[in-house]
Assembly symmetry: C2
């Protein structure tokens, strides 16, 4: 039985059309119909709504080869602003974007394991939002929404962090706690979903509809898109690939289980491999994951054999995990990102993807492409901003009971908003 309502379908069409306008830069109605696969009347309806609401504008007209000139549509950046917040294990990054999703200002505040209670995080978000709006000169009233990414399992509808093992949070009503400090539309999700959304809109998703987006940092996970749509799972818990078992009865993981991939290839897991190999290694900075992984990268660049052995071991486990992911979903592209990838990817990605072939049913492996994320800026705060944009679009208009024909006619007479 259907769970989607007509309203869901209408919102999905609206979001898909806007997504294509971002992907194409600017676009005519007919190119939007062919790029989105939606019918021409549906595109006309959605475009008319977006014009009415000032979300997009007609930037110019182009010759259509004899017929009526065709309008090119683009996002109206001045229509409003969205904020995206990436709460990671080691920092809180806040970015403000205009409605064309161009970054306007950014702020990053350190977070450490002694200061990651919900209150500490909320303080940093509040300061971060104040800082970026100040820097960009954006009045708070022009912010249409704030998206926040927090690691772990998220109940989106309730705005609750259900389980964040790396923070030891359980059932934290995050949005309820944040909203008195930032009384604006707030959206909560996790970094796997956010980074996948960013890749779908601005990265590998521009030419592939089946993606896996792997994040390697303190935590490890993956987001998936199938047919151009983010895979959430029934309880928004899809993507916990990092908690798949790679070694039965293996190392304890912070999630409470044993032998999880994250326990081997997350930053603390890599540190543990280094410690087990050379207990007093000068590469180890027990107080800082970032400093240790940076030291490991420098040692790799210098050809240090201990660093190379640790890398090989990490690549071995990562190869198993990537093999599983390719076996199960047969994506066109696997994008690797996260701060550990940024520091070690030059060595880790080729080694792990070569080893993945030993763990993959042959034909799927040969068709998959591996990439490190090519997005500039932070894909997680960008993805969180996209969630805020999605929420804003979903809330525009409450009824579309107007009939499509009247809507189509209305387009021709709409005055383009100033862009």
């Amino acid at each position: 039985m259907g769970i989607r309502s007509s309203r869901d379908v209408r919102r999905a069409s609206r979001f898909e059309v806007l997504h294509q306008i971002y992907a194409l830069g600017s676009a005519s109605r007919s190119s939007l119909a062919s790029a989105s696969g939606l019918s021409t009347p549906t595109v006309a309806t959605v475009v008319s709504e977006l014009l009415d609401w000032g979300v997009i504008g007609e930037v110019c007209t182009e010759d259509s080869g004899g017929g009526r000139p065709r309008a090119r549509l683009a996002v109206n950046p001045a229509r409003g602003f969205v904020v995206g917040v990436d709460v990671s294990e080691t920092y809180v990054q806040t970015d403000v974007f205009d409605l064309a999703l161009q970054p306007r200002a950014s702020d990053r505040q350190a977070l450490d394991t002694g200061h990651n209670h919900p209150g500490d995080v909320i303080d940093r978000i509040e300061r971060g939002v104040g800082a970026v709006l100040g820097t960009a000169g954006v009045p708070r009233a022009d912010v249409v929404g704030i998206g926040v990414s927090v690691p772990g399992r998220i109940d989106r509808a309730g705005g609750v962090s259900v389980f964040a093992p790396n923070f030891a949070w359980r059932q934290v009503p995050f949005i309820e706690l944040l909203s008195p400090r930032l009384p604006l539309p707030l959206y909560l999700d996790n970094p796997l979903k956010a980074s996948t959304m960013a890749e779908l809109w601005f990265g590998a998703g521009r030419d592939a509809r089946d993606l896996a987006v792997v994040t390697l940092g303190t935590g490890v996970g993956a987001g998936f898109a199938v047919g151009g749509t983010l895979v959430r799972g029934t309880g928004n818990a899809a993507g916990e690939w990092g908690h798949s078992t790679v070694v039965i009865d293996g190392r304890p993981c912070r999630c409470g289980n044993r032998g999880c991939l994250e326990a081997y290839v997350g930053a603390p897991g890599i540190m543990r491999q280094l410690r087990e190999r050379v207990p007093g290694s000068p590469l180890l900075r027990p107080d800082s994951q970032t400093a240790t992984i940076t030291a490991l990268a420098e040692a790799l660049a210098a050809g240090d054999p201990v660093a190379e052995a640790v890398l090989r071991q990490t690549a071995r486990y990562l190869g198993v995990g990537i093999g599983t992911l390719v076996n199960m979903l047969d994506p066109a592209v696997v994008v690797l990102g996260g701060w550990v990838t940024a520091l070690l990817g030059r060595w880790l990605v080729p080694a792990a993807t070569a080893l993945a072939a030993r763990h993959t049913f042959a034909p799927a492996f040969h068709s998959v492409r591996f990439e490190t994320s090519a997005l500039t800026g932070n894909p997680i705060s960008l993805g969180a901003g996209i969630f805020a944009l999605e929420g804003f679009l979903a809330g525009l208009g409450v009824s579309t009971s107007r009939d499509p024909a009247r809507h189509t006619a209305a387009i021709a007479t709409t005055t383009p908003p100033a862009v």
Copy 2:
């Protein structure tokens, strides 16, 4: 950029409407719109086409509470027949269905490891089709398509078995070989896709849109549905969960890798566990997987400690694999099927799903439901028949340039076909 064309979208709508008619038994246009999430005009267009082609009929009218009486629509079973063929490692099963997907006749022929060349299989399919059409009294001209499921990786468009490790087939142009013997529309896919399609239409998919369908037999794999749609992957290779590594550097697998889940929980893997534990076990029937697994089931029913130890070991590995699947996709339901599940499921399913909790990120696990397949008959031949139906529907009509308004008007004057 979009890869879907408008035609794809139109075909998908057609298929979705028909799917809902099957799910609901019979349905009014308005109930189809709400169940499918498609717009009322789209449903009206699709229904009109399906009526024109005789695929569905108006079976009766119902009072709509003051307005014009509403027609109830149902599939017209006499419109044609589809055949579904399940080529497994141990048999070839052929079923003929009417267009309401009710089975009319079935045939099963044994296949053994000495006789699984493509020619052997094709002989059995040809004989099977002849047998079921004869039994059901269906003229060959009334068959609108034949769907064939073959294990392993399938190139659907080319009709090629790309890689079937359990048959040692590589690049077998199966449809090209079969079509001179059965000159009818032929469709090729694999059992993971077929059984998932059958569950989506007639099993767990009737009340859940995110499914994993696990098949345990000689081979091991899983099919997925996300948002009610079968996940195929970029190269139709999604679902090779059985070739995910559960033991690094573990047992060799028939796919050429080591430590695959299938090497531990497929029927030959279970036989190997029995052999390793008690080399001369009386439960072992070296020539027959089916006889061995049947003997194991009988021994479990009698409380045999060797059988119990083999079951625990199998459940251990299966639990790891199920944990990975739940972690990655967060399905609403995991359906377990296949002949090994049919024989051992009573013991294996509760043991494996209990152990899976140790390998699953906690919150996702607590929301998933585990079921053994409740479909009567063979879900693989049924799914193969659904693929033939899908192909038949996709081929009906080449252009739908008629305008929706005219189409809507046409519905009222259509004479219902005899049902």
